[in-house]
Each structure stands twice: as structure tokens, then as C-alpha cells.
């Protein structure tokens, strides 16, 4: 029992550590400020809070949508249905997963809770990861904004979709091969196989308690999902479902939201305290420009729906390949998504995933530099005529 408790509070201990670092930094800044060693005027604080809050405002609605979809999947879609839907052939599965975004437009903030839920529900890792990486790119809203940002350069849209899809499929398949065991932290996935019942929320504490009647009463003292499972006594199934969905959404918001805010905090620190000119000074060579753009994509953490407008600003300074690197890496991974992933997945898994994403995107960007991208526009031109 003690062992179990220890594991459950593990993530909290990590949180305490990170928070104490933040508090020490803030105190340090405050101290430096009052002793005026470095002049830190109110403008820096204003910029920090403006950028921080603007990313929060931009992200929170999509975090909520993600949490809601994840909860709906949790309550209404059973594991049996999921196993039935998933194609037996792995390659077909991955291919379909990479195209789901076309009918399911979600941006990269919302995709993390949904993917997490899908993996818990038994979707194979390779398919779930392909889904997670491709949806923020292969998505009508994102492709349309790319089209508007790169008016007259329609090959950019095709290149983004094509390379993004290839990248997601490759990374998804590779991670499926490289990572065989469960990607979740131990306490999250510990789930009794014996007694599947309606309230099986995957939070791993439905210890075999024989349900005496329909109202399943079980004790969720060690629940990591942050909500009480006192299932309502309302007999109407519809209302009960809605209540369950809302309470799960609330829990999911807590679970993902705290890591989201932490990620936004880090990203804002990077943006306010490291001048962009410093990153740009790494260089504008063929390979170094790709690195610059990928670092920017990782640090800036902008929504995939708008990053095309930012990429456009670099069009004059960098090669098309590096711009494409920015456009495909940004939606797949950035600081806030890495922190969110760390919140529910094993560190070793996240490290593997991030490493794979960066390597594959780099290779794709190099290929894009060699590949005559403008040729793609001729293809579309032909199609339009």
C-alpha cells in the first residue's frame, strides 16, 4: 500500500521539484531586480505576461476540446469497438491514421489528450503516434491557412501535406518497432484486466470489487485522474453519460492543463529572454538554416493553424527546405507538447519520440532542399486546368 502511494505521488514530487526551480528563478529575478544589478524594468514583465497569457488564451479552448473528445471516447466507445475498427494490417492502419485529420481537424494542443486516451483504449502505438503527428498537419484548417500564407506558392501546401504525412508514417512505424512495452508511467496504466465495467477509466484503481448492484460503488482514494468517481444514482443512462463525460473532462483538464501551462511558461521564458537574433545568428547555410528553423519551431510553440504566417516571414532569408522543416516539425513537437507528453508518458519513450521526430524532420527538410519543390506547383497547375 505504501509502495503504491509512493508511486502515485511520484509525479507530484517531480512537479514540486520543477516548481521549486521556478520559484527560485523568480526569487532570483526579483532579487536581481531590487539590487538593480541588471535593470529589469516592468516592460519585460509586461511582455512576459502578454506572451504567456496569449498562448494560454489561444490554447485553452483547444485543450478543452481535446479533453472533451477524449472523455467522449472514454465513456461511449468501448475497447471492443476500437479493436473492431482498427485494420488488421499494420501498414493500412498507419496509412489511414495519417489521413484521419482530413475529417477530424484538431490542432496540436488538443491531440495529446486524445492520443493518450486512444493508447489507453488499446490502439496500437504505431497507429496512435502516426495519428498524433499527422492530424495537426493533414488538416483542412491548417492546409488552408498555409495556402493563404503562401499565396502563389501552392507547392508549399502540397509539400507540407506530403512531407508531413511521410514523416508521420515513418515516425509512427519506427516508434512501434523501437518501443515494445507500455509507454505510460507505471501508475497510470496499472489496470485490472479481470473486471471490466462501465467506469473503467484507465486510471488504474478499479481493484476487483464485486459490484453488488448497478450502482458501482468503489473507492477511488488513490486516483490519479483527479476526480471523484461517485457514480451518480440517476437511472437515465443519457444524463449519467453526460455527467460522466463532464467529470472526466474536468479531470482531463487538470491532468493535461497543468503540463500545458508549464510548457507555455517555459516557451515564454525562451521567447522573452533569448533574442531571436541569437538563434538566427547560427547561420543561413543550407544545413544550418534547417537547424535554425527547427529550433525556432520547437521554441516558439505556435499553433499549427498559424505557424505558416510566421514561416512566411522567413521566406526571404532561408531555403524552402528549412521553411518546410519549420512547417512539419512545429505541429509535431514543441516545448509545450513535450512537457504535456512527459506528464503522462515514460521519459524514455518521450525521449525516443522526440529524437525520432527531430531526425526524420531534418532528413525530410534536407530532401526538400534537393527536391525541386516548384515542380509540385506545375502538377497542381495542370490539375487546375
Amino acid at each position: 500500500m505504501i509502495e503504491e502511494n509512493k508511486r502515485i505521488y511520484d509525479s507530484e514530487i517531480i512537479l514540486i521539484k520543477i516548481l521549486s526551480i521556478i520559484i527560485v528563478t523568480l526569487l532570483g529575478i526579483y532579487f536581481v531586480n531590487i539590487t538593480s544589478i541588471i535593470k529589469l524594468d516592468s516592460r519585460v514583465i509586461n511582455d512576459f505576461s502578454t506572451i504567456f497569457l496569449s498562448i494560454i488564451f489561444e490554447g485553452i479552448p483547444f485543450i478543452l476540446i481535446g479533453a472533451l473528445v477524449s472523455s467522449i471516447i472514454q465513456i461511449l466507445v468501448s475497447e471492443e469497438t476500437i479493436t473492431k475498427i482498427i485494420p488488421k494490417n499494420k501498414f493500412v492502419g498507419v496509412l489511414i491514421a495519417s489521413l484521419v485529420g482530413l475529417v477530424f481537424p484538431v490542432c496540436e494542443c488538443a491531440i495529446v489528450p486524445i492520443t493518450r486516451r486512444l493508447i489507453k483504449k488499446g490502439v496500437p502505438l504505431s497507429i496512435a503516434i502516426t495519428f498524433m503527428l499527422s492530424v495537426p498537419i493533414m488538416n483542412p484548417v491548417v492546409l488552408l491557412s498555409t495556402h493563404y500564407a503562401f499565396m502563389g506558392m501552392s507547392y508549399m501546401v502540397i509539400a507540407r501535406a506530403m512531407f508531413g504525412m511521410i514523416g508521420a508514417i515513418t515516425i509512427g512505424s519506427l516508434i512501434g518497432v523501437l518501443h515494445k512495452d507500455s509507454p505510460f508511467k507505471p501508475h497510470v496504466v496499472k489496470r485490472p484486466r479481470g473486471t471490466p465495467h462501465k467506469a473503467d477509466c484507465g486510471c488504474g484503481h478499479h481493484i476487483a470489487q464485486k459490484p453488488k448492484n448497478i450502482i458501482v460503488k468503489h473507492n477511488h482514494d488513490n486516483c490519479s485522474c483527479g476526480h471523484s468517481h461517485n457514480h451518480s444514482k440517476v437511472s437515465n443512462k443519457f444524463i449519467r453519460n453526460i455527467e460522466d463525460i463532464i467529470s472526466h473532462t474536468s479531470a482531463e483538464l487538470y491532468d493535461i492543463g497543468r503540463f500545458f501551462i508549464m510548457g507555455v511558461f517555459l516557451s515564454t521564458c525562451m521567447q522573452v529572454f533569448i533574442p531571436k537574433a541569437f538563434i538566427l545568428s547560427i547561420g543561413g547555410g543550407v544545413l544550418s538554416s534547417i537547424i535554425v528553423m527547427m529550433v525556432l519551431a520547437f521554441v516558439l510553440s505556435v499553433c499549427s493553424e498559424t505557424d505558416a504566417f510566421i514561416a512566411r516571414g522567413f521566406l526571404g532569408q532561408f531555403t524552402s527546405g528549412s521553411i518546410l522543416g519549420f512547417l512539419i516539425l512545429g505541429p509535431m513537437i514543441d516545448i509545450k507538447n513535450t512537457i504535456m507528453l512527459c506528464g503522462s508518458f515514460k521519459l524514455s519513450f518521450v525521449a525516443k519520440l522526440v529524437f525520432l521526430i527531430i531526425t526524420i524532420c531534418f532528413i525530410l527538410a534536407v530532401i526538400a532542399n534537393i527536391f525541386p519543390l516548384a515542380m509540385l506547383s506545375n502538377v497542381t497547375g495542370g490539375m487546375n486546368v
Binding site: I16, S54, M153
Partner: protein, 281 residues
């Protein structure tokens, strides 16, 4: 196990109420557009309604039957945005932060040449060009039409009035054909930005462009020539009247020479930043 207040649920309830109030406050005072593009407002409104629903459902959980449990520390993370948001008065992104992101006078030019090189239908007529650009800057059809008409009338008149509404289109147009606009009068409001490598009398009249949220604020600007004894500090807001011209510009980093538009200022007056001065892309 008897019914008593569950501290964790109570804190979560209060945090949700805090978020609801903060979101309501920021939407009702119209300060939201200092943080995000107006097109994002509907999503934030959705979040507000959702928070209200969550608060209502969370209210039932305060008296949940539960044993005493350790407090969750993750709540602290949610307090950071609340505290920052409520304590600090929103002012929008500062000019320095936008300058920090870097700006090149020639990048817009390069974008235009790249576009021209790859356009399959090289129609070349200005009206078409502007129509096309307008379609992406506004969402609804009536807005597009209005914007297009505005831009066309701009082309016909001799004086160009650059306002927040037509800034991006006019800017694209001036950079697209610097030669065509030579000698035309122009009125703009913006702030002064002194870039390295400019002549003594020159500065860049700039504005901040936001395409999604304040985190992606970028600088845009046109080179200005003002031969006057009085110099202004960086970040001063001014209204200018001048004539468009062009000049050869040598990039101080890459050394490339290109022709860029320049405004020869006839009249310059100091003005105040009136609230929200972002240009939304």
C-alpha cells in the same frame, strides 16, 4: 466515512470559478484582442461557456465522500495564469519585444519575387492581385468585397491613406511595385524604429502585425527619409505625410543590393498610441 468538504475538489472548484471570471472579465472589457487575433475570440468564448458548465458540475463534487487525501500540487500551475492575468494590467506587447524578433527591409521584396517566379497564371493585373490577397485577410465575403473596393479606390487616388484596415494590402502593393508608386503622396501612422546600417536621416516607420496571438507579433515597416534637425527616440508614435520614392539598399549583413520603396517625409507630427494598435493579418 461521512460527508465533509473535500479540499481538493473545493480548490479545483475555486480555480474553475477563477478562470470563468477572468475569461468573462477579459472578454467583456474587450481586452482580449490585445492577446489574440479577433478571429480567435469565438474560441475563447467557447472556453468561457465550457468553464461555466464545468463549474456547475464541479459544485456537486465539493461534498464528495472521501477519505482525507494529500493536496494536489498541480493546482499551483493553474494559479500562475490567474495571478498574472488579474494582477497585471494588459497593455499588449511592447515595441522592444517585436524589434527583438528581427526585421529585414528586403524580406518582403524577396517574398514578392519568389511569388512572381512561381505563379502559374502570370496575369499581372493589379486588381486581380489585390483581390487575391484580400481573400485571405478577411473571412466573410462582404468583408472581402469591401476590402477589395477599398484597395481599388486606393490605386486610383493619388494620395494613399494607410490605415489599420488596409495596411497589409497596401504594404504588399507598395513593396510589390515600388516603381509604379513613385511620386504618390502617402499618410501613415506608426512608430519609429532605428535599424543598424541606415543613413543618419533615415528611420523605419513600423507597425506590429499579429497573425494569431501576441506571441507571434512581428514588425513590418517602410523606410523613411526625414532630413530635420529634431530627432525622435525609438518607439515614438508619429503621423507622417510624405511622397513615395525608391532607393537602392544594401543589406548590411549579406551585402545584397536591391531597390526598396522609401518615403520622403514632408510633415511629421508626434501622436499618442491610442489603445490597441496591432495590425491583424
Amino acid at each position: 466515512m461521512k460527508k465533509k468538504v473535500n479540499l481538493n475538489e473545493l480548490i479545483w472548484f475555486l480555480i474553475l470559478i477563477g478562470f470563468t471570471c477572468y475569461f468573462y472579465m477579459i472578454i467583456s472589457t474587450n481586452k482580449l484582442t490585445l492577446f489574440v487575433h479577433p478571429k480567435m475570440v469565438k474560441y475563447v468564448k467557447f472556453a468561457l461557456y465550457f468553464f461555466i458548465i464545468l463549474v456547475i458540475f464541479q459544485g456537486k463534487n465539493i461534498y464528495a465522500i472521501k477519505k482525507a487525501k494529500k493536496l494536489k500540487l498541480g493546482y499551483i500551475m493553474f494559479l500562475i495564469p490567474l495571478v498574472l492575468g488579474i494582477l497585471l494590467k494588459p497593455e499588449g506587447i511592447s515595441i522592444d519585444s517585436a524589434i527583438n524578433k528581427g526585421f529585414s527591409l528586403t524580406s518582403q521584396l524577396k517574398i514578392n519575387t519568389l511569388k512572381h517566379k512561381h505563379t502559374v497564371l502570370a496575369d499581372g493585373t493589379e486588381v486581380c492581385d489585390i483581390n487575391e490577397k484580400d481573400t485571405h485577410s478577411t473571412d466573410n465575403a462582404s468583408g472581402t468585397l469591401k476590402g477589395a473596393l477599398e484597395s481599388i479606390s486606393l490605386l486610383k487616388e493619388t494620395t494613399i491613406n494607410m490605415t489599420s484596415g488596409n495596411f497589409i494590402n497596401t504594404y504588399d502593393d507598395i513593396y510589390g511595385n515600388p516603381h509604379k508608386h513613385i511620386g504618390r503622396a502617402i499618410n501613415i501612422k506608426g512608430f519609429i524604429y532605428n535599424q543598424k546600417g541606415l543613413n543618419k536621416d533615415e528611420f523605419i516607420l513600423s507597425r506590429i502585425v499579429v497573425s494569431c496571438c501576441a506571441a507571434d507579433a512581428q514588425l513590418v515597416g517602410i523606410l523613411c527619409d526625414y532630413s530635420n534637425e529634431k530627432k525622435f527616440t525609438e518607439g515614438t508614435w508619429v503621423n507622417i505625410e510624405g511622397t513615395l520614392g525608391e532607393r537602392e539598399y544594401k543589406d548590411f549583413k549579406s551585402g545584397e543590393v536591391s531597390v526598396i520603396p522609401i518615403i520622403k517625409i514632408n510633415k511629421l507630427e508626434k501622436t499618442d498610441k491610442s489603445g490597441n494598435e496591432y495590425i491583424y493579418n
